[in-house]
Amino acid sequence: MLNAPKIFLTIGGKHQRHAMLVLMIATLLLLPFITDVLLGRGWVRIVDFAMLYIMLALGLNIVVGYAGLLDLGYIAFFAVGAYCYALTGSPHLALAFPMLFPDGVHLSFWIVLPLAALIAGGFGVLLGAPTLGLRGDYLAIVTLGFGEIIRIFLNNLNAPINLTNGPQGISRIDPISVSGVSLNATQEIFGITFPSVHLYFYLFLAFTALVIFISQRLEKSRIGRAWMAIREDEIAASAMGINTRNLKLLAFAMGAMFGGASGALFAGFQGFVSPESFSLMESIMVLCMVVLGGMGNIAGVILGGVLLALLPEILRHSVVPLQQALFGKSIIDPESLRMLMFGGALIAVMLYRPAGLWPSRVRRRELNTDEADEKV
C-alpha cells in the first residue's frame, strides 16, 4: 500500500482505481493532441512549461516540504542547470574562447543532463554548508541573497572574460536530441505526426514521472523520515542519532539537482537563456506552487504547479477578449490582473486552507484529530 503510485487516487475499490490509473495515463499520453485540437498549438507549449514548473516545484518540495528549510533562491539552481546546457550546447564557447574550444563542446544530451544536475547539486551544497546553523527567516534571507548573487553573476560575467554573454544571454542552443532524433523538428512515428512541442511534452512527461517516483521513494525512506524529524525538531532529531549536518546538505543537494536537471531541459527546449528568466519572482512563484498546493504532499505540489503555471496564460487569453466584448476596449492589463488574482488566491488559501489546497496525509489528519478532540 505504501509503495503504490497512489498520489492521484483517492477513493474507490481496487478495480476502480486501476481503471482510473489507466484512464489517467491515457489522458496524459493524448494530452498534447487534445490540447492541440481544442486550444491550438500554442497551448501545448504552455503545457510543456507547466511540466517544467512541476519538476521545479517537486524539487523545492524536498527542501521546503520534507526538510523544512525555507529556500527563497531556488531558481538559482534552475539557472545553473540551464547555463550548463547552454554553454555546452551552443556556439558561445567557440566564439568566446576559440583557442580552447574551436568547435564548441556539444556533448550528448545524456551526458549534459546528469552533469547539469551534478553541478547544480554542488551549488546546493555550496549554499547549504554556510547556512547549516540558520533556520526560518534567517535562512530565507540568505537563500534569497544567494539566488540574486547567481543571477547577478550571470548578468555580469561577460567581462573580463565572456563566460555567460551577460544580459544578452546565450542563443542558438542545440535542441535536445534523444538517440539521434532531434526534438526540434516534426517527426513521423508509426504514421503519426509529432510536432516538436509534442515531442518535448513526452520527454518532460517522462522526466516528471521520474521526479515523482524519486520523491515518493524519498518520502517513505529512512532519509525522508530523518528530514521530517529535522523539520519538526532539530535538537531532538540530533539526539535520535540523526546526522543533521549531512542530511540538511543532502536535502539542499537533492533539491538543487532536480532544479538543475529541469534547467537543462528548459535551455534545450527554449533554445535561448538569459539572466532575466531567473529573477527572484520566479523563486517566489515556485515556492508559492509548493505552499499553495500543499507542502510536503506530492499531489498537492503538482496541483499547485499546474494552477500557477496555467493561470497567467488563461488570464492572458481570456481577460482581453472579455474586456473587448464588454467595453469595446482593453482597460486592465492581464499582467497586472494576474498579480491581483494571485495575491487574492494566496490570501484565500492561507485563510481557509492553511495546509494548502491538497494537504499531505499528516496535515489532513492533524486537522481531523483537532475536530475529533473538539467533539470529545
Binding site: 532529531a237 539526539a239 535520535m240 478532540d373
Partner: protein
C-alpha cells in the same frame, strides 16, 4: 557510592561505533527491559573506578558567557543520579554537552572508559547515550508510532526494533492507545511519555532526562516519576536533571546540587533531602 555490584553485568556490551562496524545491537538483553538475569554478560569495558560516565572539570560557554564553570560528576552503571538546581544553574547546558549538542570549552568526558572528545551527537546515540530533551521535543507532525520509530534511527535490527516497540507500549499503555495520533495532539504528560519511550528505543545504557516534570500536572508528574523509578529499578543508568528537587531526590540514589555553573553539594540523595542547605534553597524550608 552505593552501587549494587550485581547490577553491573546487565549492561550489555555495546560495540564502539568509532572502531567497529557499529550498530549490531546486543541480543542478550537490554539494560532497561529485561529482568535481571544472573547469567548476563560480564561488562569488562568499564574503567577501573567502575564509572559509566565520568565528567571532570567540564567548562561550557555560550560565546563569552560561561554557563558551566568546571564541574565534575560520576555515574556508575545502574545508578540513578539527580542533578538539581534552580533556573539558569547550567543543568541543561551540562546535559546538552554530554549529549554532544554543545561543545565544551575544556574538561574531559569519559564514557565507558573512552573519551567523548570529537564524537558527534549522532555517534553518541549509537554508543548508548540517549537524551530526552528539555520541553520534550516530540516530532509534532509525526504519529506516536513514527516518533518511536525515529528513536530507533541509529539501529538497523528490524525484528528487535519491532519487539522493543511492543515493550514500549507495555511500559506506556497510554501510548499504545494513541499510537496513530499525531504526537503534537497529545497532552503534555503523554508527550513526555513519547519522548521517554523514543529515547529508550535507541537501547541506551545511559538515559539523560532534562526536566521531565516541566509543565505537567502534579498527577502526571507522579506517574512520570514512577516510570523513571521503574526503568531505574530494571538497571538503567539515569542522569536526571530537575528543578523539582524533592521529587528528584526521592527517586535518585545520589544527587548533585548545581548553582550558577558550579556543583556546590554532592551526596547520597537521602542526605541531601535532609540537608539544611538544600531544604532552605530548594525545598521551601
Amino acid at each position: 557510592m552505593s552501587i549494587d555490584s550485581t547490577q553491573n553485568h546487565i549492561n550489555p556490551v555495546r560495540p564502539d561505533p568509532s572502531t567497529g562496524s557499529g550498530l549490531k545491537a546486543d541480543v542478550e538483553g537490554w539494560a532497561g527491559f529485561d529482568k535481571l538475569s544472573p547469567n548476563g554478560i560480564k561488562n569488562s569495558s568499564n574503567s577501573i573506578n567502575n564509572c559509566l560516565l565520568e565528567v571532570s572539570d567540564l567548562q561550557v560557554a555560550y560565546g563569552g558567557i560561561q554557563a558551566v564553570k568546571g564541574i565534575s560528576l560520576q555515574i556508575a552503571p545502574g545508578e540513578l543520579v539527580a542533578l538539581i538546581g534552580s533556573n539558569g544553574a547550567g543543568k541543561s547546558t551540562t546535559l546538552k554537552t554530554l549529549a554532544g549538542l554543545l561543545q565544551p570549552v575544556s574538561g574531559e568526558i569519559q564514557y565507558d572508559g573512552n573519551s567523548l572528545k570529537n564524537i558527534a551527537a549522532h555517534q553518541r546515540v549509537s554508543m548508548g547515550i540517549a537524551l530526552v530533551p528539555e520541553g520534550r521535543g516530540v516530532f509534532a507532525r509525526l504519529t506516536v508510532a513514527e516518533n518511536l520509530q525515529m528513536g530507533a534511527y541509529s539501529r538497523n535490527d528490524k525484528s528487535e526494533i519491532a519487539s522493543d516497540l511492543v515493550r514500549m507500549y507495555e511500559l506506556f499503555p497510554r501510548l499504545a492507545e494513541r499510537k496513530d495520533q499525531l504526537a503534537g495532539t497529545l497532552s503534555g504528560g503523554e508527550q513526555q511519555m513519547v519522548a521517554m519511550a523514543r529515547a529508550l528505543m535507541s537501547r541506551p545504557r545511559l538515559l539523560m532526562l532534562d526536566e521531565p516534570s516541566m509543565g505537567l500536572a502534579p498527577l502526571m508528574v507522579k506517574k512520570i516519576f514512577e516510570t523513571i523509578s521503574d526503568i531505574a529499578a530494571q538497571g538503567m543508568s539515569i542522569l536526571l536533571v530537575e528543578q523539582n528537587a524533592k521529587l528528584a531526590l526521592q527517586v535518585a540514589q545520589r544527587g548533585y546540587v548545581m548553582e550558577s555553573g558550579a556543583i556546590t553539594l554532592s551526596d547520597e540523595a537521602k542526605e541531601l533531602l535532609g540537608s539544611e542547605a538544600v531544604q532552605r534553597a530548594y525545598l521551601g524550608g
